[in-house]
């Protein structure tokens, strides 16, 4: 509770400690409904972002955890709604068409394989940004996620691609 009060007072250290205390429980909470680790990671980040936005709705001296997990329910519900609104087929099509523009030499095949191995939740923001040149604002609007989440997913895809290309012996770019 003291941490939350300090956070409401504008203490960044309190946020860091709060994150450390709650990230494990938040991950476990989302793991009950999702299997994909990257989706769980995204939801945890969305949760902390939502905690930040809604920090004034916490009323001391009430316990913090029910409030946090109330927000987690909200984040989870919003994610479900965004998933429902996002047309699955068209996203697959856009991914496939994006893969088609990669040149068909050996390097490109490695990239294509690495891209295919990525979960669609991270692959799509990466493709939309790095291949099609969309801004993160547009990607966020298109996928029904926050701009921060779009950037997080794209950077995670970049890291995963770099790692995959290093494992196949190709120099990372």
């Amino acid at each position: 509770m003291e941490l939350m009060i300090a956070y409401q007072a504008g203490d960044l250290g309190a946020f860091e400690r709060l994150y450390a205390l709650l990230v494990g429980e938040a991950t476990r909470y989302f793991s009950r409904a999702h299997r994909d680790r990257s989706v769980i990671h995204d939801l945890v980040q969305d949760l902390f972002l939502e905690i930040h936005r809604s920090r004034r709705t916490y009323t001391p001296p009430l316990p913090v955890k029910p409030w946090i997990f109330g927000i987690a329910r909200n984040v989870s519900a919003r994610n479900r709604r965004a998933f429902r609104l996002q047309p699955g087929e068209s996203s697959e099509q856009s991914s496939d068409s994006a893969l088609a523009v990669v040149p068909s030499d050996a390097d490109a095949l490695d990239i294509e394989n690495a891209l295919t191995a990525l979960p669609s939740s991270t692959r799509e923001p990466w493709l939309l940004h790095h291949v099609f040149g969309f801004s993160f604002d547009s990607i966020a609007a298109r996928l029904g996620i926050t701009v921060v989440a779009a950037k997080l997913r794209s950077s995670r895809a970049t890291r995963a691609l770099r790692l995959a290309l290093q494992l196949t012996g190709k120099p990372s770019r």
Binding site: Q8, Y19, L49, R56, K65, P66, D137
Partner: protein, 226 residues
């Protein structure tokens, strides 16, 4: 845990936006802040109608029961504001109890209405429409205040939160409406006045859902770290 353990994008977004905030006041106090709105609907609405149409207002005993109905509406609004705070959602038992109390109070309070007057069917229909239109017209501006208060929180069940606010405002409006209503017939009261409350419940649920969607969209556009 340090800065390096938190994803950079999240850390930067929080750091950029971090400033001291005041926590929301309790739901009870926020409901109490709507007391002036309740007073306008309880006193202002009948007085205005009496001045406009020269209708005789209900006797003082009816004013007493209207005050009870208005206080109940504040309790329901407080419940709605509580429902809007994450982690403080009402249990289904509490919701059922609240709904039963509201229905019972509406029926009992209106059972003390003046005795019915024999009126024609045409007039009955006209007064039916008049009561609904008056209640909804005066209550829609009153619904803005709770909608704004709800939008400051983060309801997990926005439709339910809005419905509770609509119920609260509807009962508030009924507390005033019953004091100047031309028709004392119990069937009129239940159908027309009850119908107005139901319309406000639906409007409340719709407005809270729409507000939440708009808020989510606005926050998505606002939070960026580059």
């Amino acid at each position: 845990m340090s800065e390096s353990d938190i994803p950079a994008a999240l850390y930067d977004a929080v750091k950029r936006d971090l400033k001291p905030v005041r926590s929301l006041v309790s739901p009870e106090l926020r409901a109490l802040a709507l007391l002036p709105v309740g007073m306008v609907l309880l006193v202002g609405l009948p007085e205005f109608w009496s001045w406009k149409t020269h209708v005789a207002l209900a006797p003082w005993s009816s004013w007493g029961t209207s005050v009870v109905e208005m206080l109940l509406s504040l309790i329901i609004l407080a419940a709605g504001f509580r429902e809007a705070v994450p982690g403080r959602e009402l249990s289904s038992r509490a919701l059922a109890a609240l709904l039963c109390i509201s229905c019972a109070a509406f029926i009992l309070v209106n059972a003390t209405m003046r005795s019915p007057v024999g009126i024609s069917h045409v007039l009955w229909l006209q007064w039916f429409r008049e009561c609904i239109v008056t209640a909804v017209t005066f209550s829609i501006p009153a619904l803005i205040a709770p909608a704004w208060l709800v939008s400051r929180a983060l309801p997990n069940r926005p439709a339910l939160t809005g419905a509770l606010c609509g119920l609260g405002v509807g009962l508030m409006a009924d507390a005033g409406l019953r004091l100047f209503c031309w028709d004392g017939d119990y069937a009129h009261v239940l159908i027309a006045h009850g119908g107005a409350i139901l319309i406000l419940v639906a409007l409340g649920a719709l407005s809270a859902t729409v507000i939440e969607r708009i808020k989510a969209l606005w926050l998505r556009l606002r939070f960026r770290y580059s």
